[in-house]
Amino acid sequence: MWLPIFGLIVGVFLGLMTDIRIPAEYSNYLSIAVLAALDTLIGGMRAYLQNLYDERVFVSGFFFNIILAASLAFLGVHLGVDLYLAAVFAFGVRLFQNIAVIRRILLAKWSKSPEKSL
């Protein structure tokens, strides 16, 4: 159970320590990738709560979404179309949907469990 948290801490530490300078036009890719990662994470959490969680789907979705979002943004930059906006939109909508689902599930659980305990 502590291993993922440890991994998170190490990741944050590495990210803060890394002193690589990326040109400003590539920061878009990074933000898109972050958004995709968050989306996948939240989606995984939802799936877990709905008992639909599949590790392979989660992990492959996590990395594939990151790469896809980054490449979409790359393509958009090279075509002169702000395609990363599509990714932002899609991921954003899905993020909110997933969070809403998670909230409802949690609320349902919370409202159920007191009944149980009572």
């Binding site: 291993l3 993922p4 998170l8 990741g11 990210g15 990326i22 920061s27 972050v34």
Partner: protein, 231 residues
């Protein structure tokens, strides 16, 4: 084992996520820092620009003042030069007056008048055969009237303040004695001077009537020394 691998994969995911988030965060922070820096530099540039404008304004003002001062200097210099010209004119005039006063050596064309005692004949008074001071007066006055600029008697400059005294066989001009023959030189227009002396019933005729040997000759170049002493 299964749990372990699950945890491992999850931690890998967490690591990547944490890395990306942290990296993005630090990158954004750096960018904002840079923006702040550029803001500062913009401020600095603005203040420097303002300073530059102020300096230019000052420079323009100073240039205006400089041109004004230069104009003033030119004006003063003009005044100086005109007063210098005046000085030069005054100096020239003073030189001219000095010439008239006999204070400087003068040179020029003129006439030479020689008065000698007449040939003595024993039947009459000796006095009526020698040159008297009034003869010299006459000649000198006639020369001055005719426009002589400078007159000398036997080489001694004769000025307008000079005096002539008859002192026996000699005459005294300004205290120095001169014997006959008297040579009166005058600088001026020789034709006019000669005509003035030769006029009918004029000085020459009167002197010849008084038994004085009178001779006049034109000179191309006469030189006279300044009068000694006196003011």
């Amino acid at each position: 084992m299964k749990i372990r691998s699950k945890h491992f994969v999850l931690s890998l995911v967490a690591l990547v996520l944490g890395f990306m988030v942290a990296f993005s965060y630090s990158l954004t922070k750096k960018n904002t820092d840079r923006h702040k820096l550029s803001d500062q530099s913009w401020d600095r540039e603005y203040s420097l620009r303002k300073k530059l404008v102020e300096e230019e304004e000052k420079t323009r003002k100073l240039q205006k003042e400089l041109s004004y001062r230069q104009a003033e200097i030119t004006r003063v210099e003009n005044r100086f030069s005109s007063s210098e010209q005046n000085f030069a004119a005054i100096t020239k005039e003073a030189e001219k007056y000095r010439m008239f006063l006999g204070k400087v050596k003068v040179k020029g064309e003129g006439v030479r008048v020689t008065l000698e005692d007449g040939e003595y004949r024993s039947d009459s008074d000796v006095n009526s055969y020698i040159v008297h001071e009034q003869h010299i007066f006459k000649v000198v006055n006639e020369l001055f009237i005719s426009g002589a600029e400078a007159v000398a008697i036997n080489g001694q400059r004769f000025t307008r303040r000079s005096y002539i005294v008859c002192n026996g066989p000699v005459i005294t001009v300004d205290g120095s004695q001169h014997p006959a023959p008297f040579e009166i030189t005058a600088i001026g227009d020789p034709d006019v001077l000669e005509a003035g002396l030769n006029i009918n019933g004029g000085v020459k005729d009167q002197l010849v009537n008084e038994n004085i040997t009178f001779s006049i000759e034109k000179e191309d170049e006469l030189e006279m020394n300044p009068a000694l002493g006196g003011s």
